[in-house]
């Protein structure tokens, strides 16, 4: 359809007239004038098109325009359009241009928004999540799940807005709001990334700075799109993109708000390490109530090398602290060691956000160290087997604990654990399986064995090291547990004295893993096979165990979960001949003609006139407070009792007073009603307890403790109290776990551990009962004497195994250390080495080859010289044979 020039001019004039009319017409208010004019133009075109015209002349056009311009027709007056004269002109413009579509403007902005507001931010998020590059080198832009969600709103909001720009429709409020939120978020990130902008620009040359520039690209494109959207909305009669400004404000504030919990936690963590006690107490209380555990745990594992809140971090508004500080604070807040919880990983980040450290810190920071240290996510205990032989009359046992570790990671790792031995126990054998063959350990000076271990660890070969880590505790280290499902198997031989609850009964407290850097499945159980040359007690009997009787003794077998072993009670009982009071062991390793004599000795705990009960006020003790209260009435009525609780400061619940029923009742009520919270420092409370005890003539401090993985204050004052050897402390484990205070007091005089045979209340009652002179408890004392000394002992001497000599040697090492005479260390090391024992001065190390032993100046023990437990199959065979023999004999008698 072609147009005459006049017709074209007439239409434009008409539209201009309409524009003026619309501006003046109140009825047209609220309409979009530009849109109306475009509509009218289209209407004219359509009308003319429907007339089938080849040429649009003034006549034809005026007919159409007249109908449009006509006044509304009155029902009574139907005005006809006036005919108009016109002059025909030659045709110049053949075709009228189509009306411009707003779509094109929107499409350009939408395309840019798709590219820089959707695709680029998505790529930036994906790259950061998969590499955590920015988190490790600058700051963490996605420290929490909320940050991740908010960052994801950017491409979402921008994508929806881009779609909206492509259709000629008003922007819905939700889309406008989400778009605004996205602009706010990229705006915030643009501020945060500002200091590294020059670096990003430079890095673009190398192709790695594009992601750093992505907030700016997204922001710029979004602002242009916002302007385009506003312009389109104006054409629709709106003043702006709906809700976009509100969304922008929300987006700008959302990230700092998401960071608030972490920021507050960090601020409180700084306060919790303050020198000001009041500040420290307030900060700890806030952390206990509102702290974010995962942030604290990350600081425990990885320190505070990166910020949680980018902007404030860069401004230095959040505090700095080491992983050591964080571990201390973690204990004070939650009352458990940090490594009792798996390392922070994706699970701690509530789903899908990987922690930067899980990607970048493949190395174990505590490898070959002297602590169990940080837990590993992919190393686990695969199996455990505990065999033991009990010599009930000699009250000695030898146990072998075989542990196998599995590593599911792609890197090699070290398995570390602290093992609680039976009271008075000592490691007397260490075996490592190398290529399926057993290799025995070398026992030598502690430093020498550790040095050999570290040297081999550095070369990534197979060693295992055992050293003591406190009273009745050893640290076991195995490296490397091979990656990708590989296993490492070791065996720990333990010689231990059996306790004598009564002269005709022995008790063996089984060993347990109290701290570890590997995982243990809740259902993992250790296979137990305990053989006694006497009868086991069926009551009490640990869950999962059963007794198989025989002529030569009893076998106790079954499976006990690692969790049950760690939590206790874990004692087994057997009968013995109460008439046996003396045993003799030829000492093959000592001077010829000498041996070790074992004789029943006076009670292990003498009568006490004053008992100072010192109870840990940590949260772990809350569950057993009633059991402590239960045991109080068992105190001798003649004794005095004082009660101290280790709170944030020591609290004396009961000053020293006669243990009258009223005083005991009040103390019991105070103990059960006490607010056990977080993790408390036992040292100040112990000092207070020892202060009270030092004022009494015969005093005993009974320290009921839980785990305390950090020594928060020095032990100096406690050691001073104990230095003179007059005061005694009995440590009673109320809740399982590592205790550094106990470890620190390993060499102190007068500190001993109460064997745990049953529930805490029962064990404490047994201890309190012994404060009365009427209830002595027997125990064996071991001395090394020449064989000629036996003549003066009498005829009732029972022969015992070499384990008694090992126990004597272990005790002798302790005596030598305490005496600290000339050359004591050399003598103690020599003794430990000769008797193949792990003592405070010695260690046991297994290396992969003889060459490594030689290089380290160590001699592995002869396989023929190590103790062993008879194989269960052999024991079974003996039992069956014994039973058959008895049966045959009895049948013969009947016949």
């Amino acid at each position: 359809m072609r147009w005459s020039r006049d017709a074209e001019a007439r239409l434009e004039a008409f539209l201009e007239g309409e524009r003026a009319r619309l501006a003046a017409d109140t009825d047209a208010a609220g309409s979009d004038a530009t849109e109306v004019l475009e509509d009218l133009r289209s209407h004219v075109h359509e009308s003319l098109h429907r007339r089938g015209l080849e040429l649009v002349t003034l006549t034809e056009l005026d007919g159409v325009l007249a109908a449009i311009r006509a006044e509304p027709r009155s029902p009574r007056v139907d005005a006809a359009p006036a005919a108009r004269a016109e002059s025909e002109e030659p045709l110049v413009l053949p075709v009228m241009p189509k009306p411009r579509l707003p779509k094109r403007l929107g499409t350009r902005s939408a395309t840019a928004l798709w590219l820089f507001g959707v695709a680029l931010p998505l790529a930036a998020i994906a790259v950061e999540l998969s590499t955590r590059m920015c988190a490790m080198h600058l700051f963490d832009p996605l420290p929490t799940l909320w940050h991740g969600i908010l960052a994801a709103l950017v491409p979402l909001g921008f994508g929806l807005f881009a779609l909206q720009l492509e259709v000629d429709e008003p922007v819905p409020r939700v889309v406008g709001g989400l778009f605004g939120v996205g602009v706010g978020i990229v705006g915030y990130y643009s501020i945060v990334f500002l200091p590294v902008l020059p670096l990003s620009i430079v890095a673009t040359v190398f192709g790695v700075g594009v992601l750093g520039l992505s907030p700016y690209a997204a922001l710029l494109t979004a602002l242009i799109a916002w302007r385009t959207g506003s312009s389109l909305e104006e054409r629709r009669g709106r003043t702006r993109v709906p809700w976009a400004r509100t969304g922008f404000a929300i987006g700008l504030l959302a990230l700092p708000l998401a960071s608030a919990p972490g920021l507050l936690t960090k601020s409180w963590m700084s306060g919790a390490t303050s020198d000001d006690a009041a500040v420290r107490a307030r900060a700890l209380e806030s952390l206990r109530r509102f702290g974010n555990e995962s942030i604290l745990l990350e600081a425990c594992y990885y320190g505070d090398h990166r910020g949680n809140e980018p902007l404030l971090e860069m401004l230095g508004a959040s505090g700095r602290f080491s992983s050591g500080d964080a571990r201390e604070v973690y204990y004070r807040v939650y009352g458990r060691p940090f490594n009792a919880v798996p390392p922070p990983s994706s699970s701690l980040r509530a789903g899908f956000l990987p922690s930067p450290e899980s990607l970048w810190f493949a190395d174990d920071p505590d490898v070959a160290g002297t602590e169990v240290g940080a837990a590993l996510a992919h190393v686990a205990l695969a199996s455990g087997r505990l065999d033991a032989k009990l010599e009930v009359d000699a009250a000695v046992a030898y146990l072998e604990w075989t542990l196998e570790f599995r590593n599911g990671d792609v890197d090699e790792h070290e398995a570390r654990c602290e093992v609680l031995l039976p009271p008075g126990g000592v490691v007397s054998r260490l075996t490592l399986w190398v290529d399926g063959e057993e290799r025995e350990a070398a026992f030598d000076a502690r430093g020498k064995t550790r040095e050999a271990y570290q040297s081999v660890v550095r070369r990534r070969r197979d060693p295992v090291l055992v050293t003591t880590s406190g009273p009745d505790r050893v640290l076991v280290q195995c490296y490397p547990v091979p990656p990708r499902g590989g296993t490492m198997k070791i065996r720990l031989g333990i010689t231990a004295p059996l306790a004598l609850p009564e002269p005709d009964r022995v008790a063996l407290e089984l060993p347990a893993i109290v701290e570890r850097n590997f995982a243990v499945a809740p259902e993992l159980a250790h296979d137990l096979w305990l053989f006694a040359d006497g009868a086991f007690h069926a009551d009490p009997l640990l869950d999962g165990l059963s007794i198989a009787g025989g002529d030569g003794g009893d076998a106790l077998r079954g499976a006990v979960t690692d969790r049950a072993l760690a939590r206790g009670p874990r004692a087994v009982f057997a009968r013995r001949d109460g008439a046996v009071t003396t045993t003799w062991t030829e000492d093959e390793r000592g001077e010829p003609g000498w041996g070790v004599l074992q004789q029943l000795a006076p009670p292990d705990v003498a009568a006490a006139e004053t008992v100072v009960l010192c109870v840990d006020g940590s949260v772990g003790l809350e569950a057993v407070a009633s059991q402590v209260a239960f045991a109080l009435p068992y105190l001798s009525p003649r004794a005095e009792l004082a009660v101290v609780v280790a709170g944030d400061v020591p609290e004396i619940l009961l000053p020293a007073a006669t243990a009258s029923p009223e005083a005991l009742s009040r103390a019991a009520a105070d103990l059960t009603g006490y607010a056990y919270r977080g993790g408390r420092d036992a040292v100040p409370a112990l000092e207070t307890a020892l202060d009270i005890a030092s004022g009494a003539r015969e005093a005993l401090v009974v320290w009921v403790h839980g785990p305390q993985p950090e020594i928060l204050d020095g032990l100096g004052a406690v050691e001073q109290h104990l230095e003179f050897g007059r005061l005694r402390v009995v440590a009673v484990e109320g809740a399982a776990g590592p205790n550094e205070v106990l470890r620190g007091l390993a060499d102190a005089h007068g500190v001993e551990r109460l064997p745990r045979w049953g529930r805490l209340g029962e064990d404490l009652a047994r201890l309190f009962g012994r404060t009365d002179e009427q209830a002595p408890a027997p125990r064996f004392a071991r001395t090394r004497v020449p064989e000629s000394a036996l003549e003066s002992v009498g005829d009732d001497v029972v022969s015992a195994s070499a384990h008694v000599a090992r126990l004597w040697a272990a005790e002798e090492v302790r005596r030598l250390r305490r005496a600290r005479g000339d050359g004591f260390l050399e003598a103690a090391v020599e003794l430990s080495s000769v008797y193949q024992l792990v003592t405070p001065v010695s260690g046991a190390v297994v290396l992969e080859s003889q060459a490594q032993f030689e290089a380290a100046g160590l001699d592995p023990v002869d396989a023929a010289s190590v103790p062993s437990v008879p194989e269960p199959e052999l024991v079974l065979l003996l039992l069956v044979a014994g039973a058959a023999f008895v049966f045959t004999v009895s049948r013969g008698r009947v016949a």
Partner: protein, 118 residues
């Protein structure tokens, strides 16, 4: 007589103004409609006495108010064609206006029957 005509003329203008929005919304209650056809059908409707010059500003205002939505469809034969349809708000408004108009009409019929309401 001329005075009466003028008064009547003014009244019809006011009546149209009040009803025109309802007419447009009712016309769109079915499927979406091509703007040209919609306008033509309303212009040709006897008694409404409406022109294109009045309808297009009204349609624009209704779209701005969110009562109708538009969609452009490219055409081989000329300018892009604009199609109109009701939004949810528009449907709700049409229903309310219809109901209100029915009540007015019912009242008026009642008054007529009773001869002025007496």
């Amino acid at each position: 007589m001329a005075a009466i005509d003028e008064l009547f003329e003014n009244w019809t203008v006011q009546a149209r103004k009040g009803l025109l929005e309802l007419c447009v919304l009712v016309a769109l209650e079915g499927d979406e409609r091509y703007g040209y056809d919609l306008v033509k059908s309303l212009v040709d409707r006897p008694g409404l006495g409406v022109t294109e010059g009045t309808l297009y500003p009204l349609l624009s205002r209704l779209r701005v108010q969110g009562l109708v939505r538009t969609r452009l469809v490219e055409s081989q034969e000329g300018p892009a064609r604009k199609y109109y349809s009701l939004t949810e708000d528009g449907r709700e408004m049409a229903a309310m206006m219809n109901a209100h108009f029915d009540r007015i009409a019912q009242s008026l019929r009642g008054l007529r029957k009773r001869g002025g309401g007496r």
